[in-house]
C-alpha cells in the first residue's frame, strides 16, 4: 500500500524535476492522482444515457455532465436561467415564452436554438418514445412553437405548477436534434446521443465504466454556478462498482478518487481517515415509508394501522440497522423538501401500550399458539411484497427488524416477501398485499404525491381516496405560488399521516460522497439532494 502510493509520487517528482525549466511545470504535478483527471466509483450503472428516458435517481449525477436544461434550480430551490436566458408566463398560466441563449452549440456541432427545443418537445410526446413522460409530466402539454430563432413558445392545455420542475429535471435535458434523428441506439443513449453539457461522453464500456472529456467550448453554466467557462477537470471516468465494500476499498487504496453510496458500516472508517472526506445529504421527494392498503382487512381499520406504527420503536430499529446514520422520517414528505411539515414530529409511534389497546378495541383479542393475535380464528397477518431489484439501503434487514418488533410488542404477524418484479406486480394487481413500501426521489415532492395519493393515481397502492385531498393536490399542481403550495401540502400531510394514518414514514433516504481530501467542488444537487455533476469538481490543495 505504501509502495503503491509512493510510486506515482516518485513519478510525479521526476516529472516535476524534468519540467523545472519551464514555468507551469510545477502546477501540473500539484496532485498525486494524475493532474486534472478524476476517477469516481459509482454504485448504479444507468439503464440509459438518454436524458429523456432517465428514470434512476442514482444515475442523476451523470446526466448533467453531458446535457444542459432550459432552467436550473439554485440552492434555495428557485428556478434560474440556464439555456434559457429568461422566460415569461401568461396571465392564465398556460403559455410559457422562453428567450434562449444564442451562443450554445451541441457536441456534434449543431446550433442550439428554438428549433432544437421544439424538436425535443415533439420527440418527448411522440408515441412509443417515453409513454410515462407523455402521460404524466407532459400530460398538460399542448404545443411548442418557434416564435423567433431564439424564442420558443410552449402552450399548455391547463396551468401546471410542476412544468418548470420538469424542465429543470434530467428529463428536460436538451438533446441534439441530429442525434434524435440519426442515433443508432437513441433510447440507450451513449456517445452518439449528444447534448450541450460541460463534458462529452466519448467512451462507454457496459459493465465497466463510462468516460467523459471536457467540452472546451463550454461557456453556458447555469446562473449561480461556482464558476463559468469550461469544467476544471479534463477527463472523468465513472467506474461501476456495485459492491459497497469494493468501492470503499478502491477509495482507501487510492485506486479511485471519489465514491458515492457509502454503507452505514463503513462511515466510521472513512470519517476516521484524515486523508478522506465524507459528505451526506438527504434526498428530496418522499420519505421511505410503509403505505397501508386500506381496501382490505386488517388495515381497513384505522386502529390497526395506528397500532402497527405504535408497535415499532423506530429509533431503536434505525439505530441497529443503520448504526446511527439514518434520519428518521415523520411525514410522507422528507425533511429536505421545502414542503415538509415539522409539526408532525413526535406525534405518533413507539407507544406499545397504546398499540395493544387499539388492537383490543379493534377486536383482535385472541392469541394463537405462536403468540400472534387472532380475531374470529384468523391470525393478524400483514404482508409486504417488494420487488427485489428495487430493494436497496438494507431495506430487507430493516423489514426483518420491524417484523421482530411488531411480533414481540403487539402480536402482529408481519410477513416480508422479496420477490421478482413480475410477482410483485401481480400481487399489486390482485390486491394481495397489506403494506406497500416506497420512496421517491422527485425534486418536487408534489410530483410524488400526485403519483401516490389521488384516486386512480398510477401508484396509489393504499387504495385510499379522499376527494378533499384530491382537490388540494390538484390546486397545488396548478399554481406556481410556492407559499400557497406549501399551505396545501401541509394539509395533505396532516390528513394522511395524522388523521387517516395511511402511511408509516420510516427514514429519509440520503446520499453520501466520500473522496480523497485533494478533491474539491463535490456536492449535492439542491433540487434532488443527490450528487451533482462534475462541472465544479477540481483537484488541488
Amino acid at each position: 500500500m505504501r509502495t503503491r502510493r509512493l510510486f506515482p509520487l516518485l513519478v510525479a517528482l521526476a516529472l516535476a524535476a524534468s519540467a523545472c525549466g519551464s514555468p507551469g511545470g510545477g502546477s501540473a504535478a500539484s496532485s498525486s492522482g494524475g493532474g486534472d483527471r478524476l476517477t469516481w466509483a459509482i454504485e448504479t450503472e444507468p439503464i440509459t444515457f438518454n436524458p429523456h428516458l432517465w428514470g434512476q435517481n442514482k444515475a442523476r449525477l451523470l446526466v448533467f455532465n453531458q446535457f444542459d436544461a432550459l432552467v436550473a434550480r439554485n440552492a434555495n430551490g428557485e428556478f434560474v436561467p440556464w439555456l434559457a436566458k429568461s422566460w415569461e408566463v401568461s396571465e392564465d398560466g398556460r403559455v410559457y415564452t422562453f428567450e434562449l441563449r444564442d451562443d450554445v452549440t451541441f457536441h456534434d456541432g449543431e446550433k442550439f436554438d428554438a428549433n432544437a427545443v421544439k424538436a425535443n418537445f415533439d420527440k418527448l410526446v411522440e408515441p412509443g418514445y417515453n409513454p410515462a413522460v407523455a402521460s404524466i409530466q407532459l400530460a398538460r402539454f399542448k404545443s411548442a412553437e418557434v416564435a423567433g430563432p431564439y424564442t420558443i413558445k410552449i402552450t399548455l392545455k391547463e396551468p401546471d405548477g410542476l412544468f418548470l420542475d420538469f424542465l429543470a429535471s434530467p428529463l428536460g435535458g436538451q438533446v441534439s436534434p441530429k442525434s434524435l434523428k440519426e442515433a443508432k441506439d437513441l433510447k440507450a443513449g451513449g456517445p452518439d446521443v449528444v447534448g450541450t453539457g460541460p463534458f462529452i461522453l466519448d467512451r462507454y464500456v457496459q459493465g465497466q465504466e463510462v468516460h467523459y472529456r471536457r467540452n472546451p467550448d463550454y461557456n453556458w453554466a447555469p446562473q449561480g454556478a461556482a464558476h463559468q467557462g469550461p469544467a476544471h477537470l479534463s477527463e472523468i471516468t465513472y467506474r461501476f462498482l456495485p459492491e459497497a465494500a469494493v468501492r470503499v476499498g478502491a477509495l482507501t487504496s487510492g485506486q479511485v478518487d471519489v465514491i458515492e453510496g457509502v454503507p452505514a458500516t463503513e462511515v466510521r472508517l472513512i470519517e476516521k481517515d484524515p486523508g478522506l472526506t465524507l459528505q451526506t445529504a438527504l434526498n428530496s421527494g418522499t420519505a421511505f415509508s410503509y403505505y397501508f392498503n386500506v381496501s382490505r382487512p386488517p388495515f381497513d381499520d384505522k386502529r390497526v394501522r395506528e397500532a402497527f406504527r405504535e408497535a415499532v420503536d423506530l429509533d431503536a430499529v434505525l439505530r441497529s440497522v443503520y448504526q446511527g446514520t439514518a434520519t428518521r422520517a415523520w411525514s410522507i414528505i422528507g425533511q429536505a423538501s421545502p414542503f415538509y411539515d415539522p409539526s408532525l414530529e413526535r406525534t405518533y409511534g413507539g407507544d406499545i401500550a397504546k398499540a395493544n389497546r387499539l388492537l383490543d378495541e379493534a377486536g383482535w383479542t385472541g392469541r394463537d399458539a405462536e403468540g400472534y393475535r387472532t380475531k374470529d380464528g384468523r391470525r393478524l397477518t400483514v404482508r409486504t411484497v417488494a420487488s427485489a431489484p428495487f430493494v436497496r439501503d438494507r431495506r430487507d434487514i430493516l423489514a426483518q427488524a420491524i417484523q421482530a418488533q411488531v411480533k414481540q410488542n403487539a402480536g402482529i404477524d408481519f410477513q416480508v416477501k422479496i420477490v421478482d418484479q413480475g410477482t410483485a406486480q401481480q400481487a399489486a394487481e390482485e390486491n394481495e398485499y397489506e403494506i406497500f413500501e416506497n420512496s421517491r426521489g422527485d425534486s418536487d415532492a408534489g410530483a410524488a404525491l400526485n403519483l401516490i395519493l389521488p384516486k386512480n393515481a398510477p401508484i396509489n397502492r393504499t387504495r385510499f381516496t379522499d376527494p378533499e385531498i384530491d382537490k388540494w393536490l390538484a390546486e397545488a399542481s396548478a399554481t406556481s405560488d410556492q407559499a400557497r403550495r406549501k399551505e396545501l401540502y401541509t394539509k395533505v400531510q396532516r390528513a394522511v399521516v395524522s388523521e387517516h394514518a395511511i402511511v408509516f414514514p420510516i427514514y429519509v433516504p440520503a446520499d453520501q460522497i466520500a473522496a480523497r481530501s485533494g478533491v474539491h467542488g463535490l456536492g449535492f444537487d439542491p433540487g434532488s439532494g443527490t450528487p451533482k455533476s462534475a462541472y465544479e469538481v477540481r483537484i488541488g490543495t
Partner: protein, 352 residues
C-alpha cells in the same frame, strides 16, 4: 466428401496417442490394448458421422432451450407489460403505448413463431431495459467473459494438476492439509473469495487493479477467484484417480521395469486420472457461467454475467432468452469437444 474424410483420417493418424504408434521403447502401453481396432479411414468416417449426429442433436437442444425459455416467460407471474413498467408509473395510456411498441397484442403463438423466425435470421431481439439489440449487447460482452473463462479454466487446470501431482501418494498428514485447503476453496462463496483476494492483493498490496478489463493485470484476481473452487474439486478428483491408477497391475509392471515413481505418475497414471477429470469439465463450464455473474459484479468487469444479472432482476426476457440459447450453444460445443477428447484420452472408445 473425400477431402474432408482424408483430412479426418490424417488428424486421427497424426494423433500421437494412437495406440498403434506407441514407440516400442516405451515400457508399458498407457492403457490396455484392444482388439479389432478400426483402420484410420473408417475411424475418420465414424468421427464425421458422430459429429453430424452431434450437430443435429445440438440444434434440437438449442431449439428446446429457446422454447423452454419462451414457455417460462409465458408462465412467469406478471406479464411483459408489467415488467416493462417496472416500478414506474402505471396508467392505461402507458400500457397501451408499451403494448403497441412491442407488439404484445398478437396471439402468443404468433409471437413465438416470429421469435423463432427472427432467431433463424440471427436476430436475437431487442432488450426491454437497455433498448438496444441483444446481439449487439452480447457481442460486446462476450469477449471479456471469454477471456475470463479461458484464464480461469487454464489456472484451475494447472493448479489442479500441480496439486494432484505433488500430493498423490504422499503421507496422510500432507493429504489432510491439502484436502482441507481444497475443501475451503470449494465451500467458501465466490463472493467472499473475491473480496478477500481484492483486500489483500489490490487494496493492501496494490499489485492488481480492482476493476475493468484492461490488460492481464485486471484479469489475475477475477480468474483466480473463479479458478480456486474449481481447482479444489478437480484436484481432489485427479488425485484420487492417480492413486487408483498407481495401484493397477500396469503400475506394478512399470515399477518392476525400473521406471521411477515420478515418471510413472507423469507419463501413465495421469492419463488414467484424466478421464474422470474430463467428465468434470462439463460441471466446470456450468460453474464458470454461474460464478462469473458474481465475479464480474465484484470486480466491476464487463461481461455476460453482469448483463444477465441485470436482465434477470429486471425481467428483461429478450436478454435472458438469448443468454439461455448462448449457454445451450456453449454446452453443446463443450460436450462435443469432450466426446472427441475422450476418444483421444482413451483409445478403447475409438472402436465404438
Amino acid at each position: 466428401m473425400s477431402a474432408t474424410s482424408a483430412g479426418g483420417s490424417a488428424a486421427t493418424g497424426g494423433t500421437p496417442v494412437a495406440a498403434g504408434r506407441t514407440p516400442p521403447a516405451r515400457p508399458a502401453p498407457p492403457l490396455p490394448e484392444t482388439s479389432g481396432r478400426p483402420s484410420a479411414r473408417t475411424a475418420g468416417r465414424g468421427l464425421l458421422r458422430a459429429m453430424a449426429r452431434r450437430i443435429g442433436s445440438g440444434i434440437v437442444v438449442i431449439w428446446a432451450a429457446a422454447t423452454t425459455a419462451y414457455l417460462a416467460l409465458l408462465a412467469a407471474p406478471g406479464d411483459t407489460v408489467d415488467i416493462l413498467i417496472g416500478d414506474g408509473p402505471d396508467t392505461p395510456e402507458i400500457r397501451a403505448g408499451i403494448i403497441r411498441e412491442w407488439g404484445l397484442d398478437r396471439p402468443e403463438i404468433v409471437q413465438y413463431l416470429s421469435y423463432l423466425g427472427r432467431l433463424l435470421q440471427g436476430d436475437l431481439g431487442r432488450s426491454y431495459q437497455l433498448q438496444r439489440g441483444v446481439g449487439d449487447i452480447l457481442a460486446e460482452q462476450i469477449g471479456p467473459s471469454a477471456r475470463l473463462a479461458v484464464a480461469a479454466a487454464a489456472t484451475a487446470i494447472v493448479l489442479a494438476v500441480l496439486i494432484a501431482l505433488v500430493t498423490a501418494g504422499r503421507g496422510p498428514w500432507a493429504r489432510r492439509a491439502v484436502s482441507g485447503v481444497e475443501l475451503l476453496a470449494v465451500s467458501v462463496p465466490t463472493f467472499v473469495i473475491g473480496i478477500v483476494l481484492l483486500s489483500v492483493f489490490s487494496f493492501s498490496l496494490g499489485w492488481f487493479p480492482v476493476s475493468g478489463d484492461e490488460g492481464w493485470k485486471s484479469l489475475v484476481l477475477p480468474a483466480l477467484t473463479l479458478a480456486l473452487p474449481a481447482a479444489g474439486v478437480l484436484g481432489q478428483v485427479l488425485r484420487e484417480g492417480l492413486e487408483k491408477a498407481l495401484e493397477q497391475p500396469f503400475a506394478t509392471t512399470a515399477r518392476a521395469r525400473g521406471l521411477t515413481e515420478r515418471a510413472l505418475v507423469a507419463r501413465h497414471a495421469l492419463r488414467h486420472a484424466m478421464l474422470p477429470g474430463a467428465t468434470l469439465v462439463g460441471w466446470f463450464v456450468a460453474q464458470l457461467l454461474t460464478q462469473a455473474i458474481i465475479t464480474e459484479a465484484v470486480f466491476g468487469r464487463p461481461g455476460v454475467g453482469r448483463v444477465v444479472l441485470q436482465a434477470v432482476t429486471g425481467g428483461d426476457m429478450p436478454v435472458v432468452m438469448a443468454v439461455v440459447i448462448l449457454s445451450a450453444v456453449v454446452f453443446v460445443t463443450v460436450s462435443t469437444v469432450l466426446d472427441l477428447l475422450y476418444r483421444v484420452i482413451d483409445p478403447r472408445l475409438r472402436s465404438s
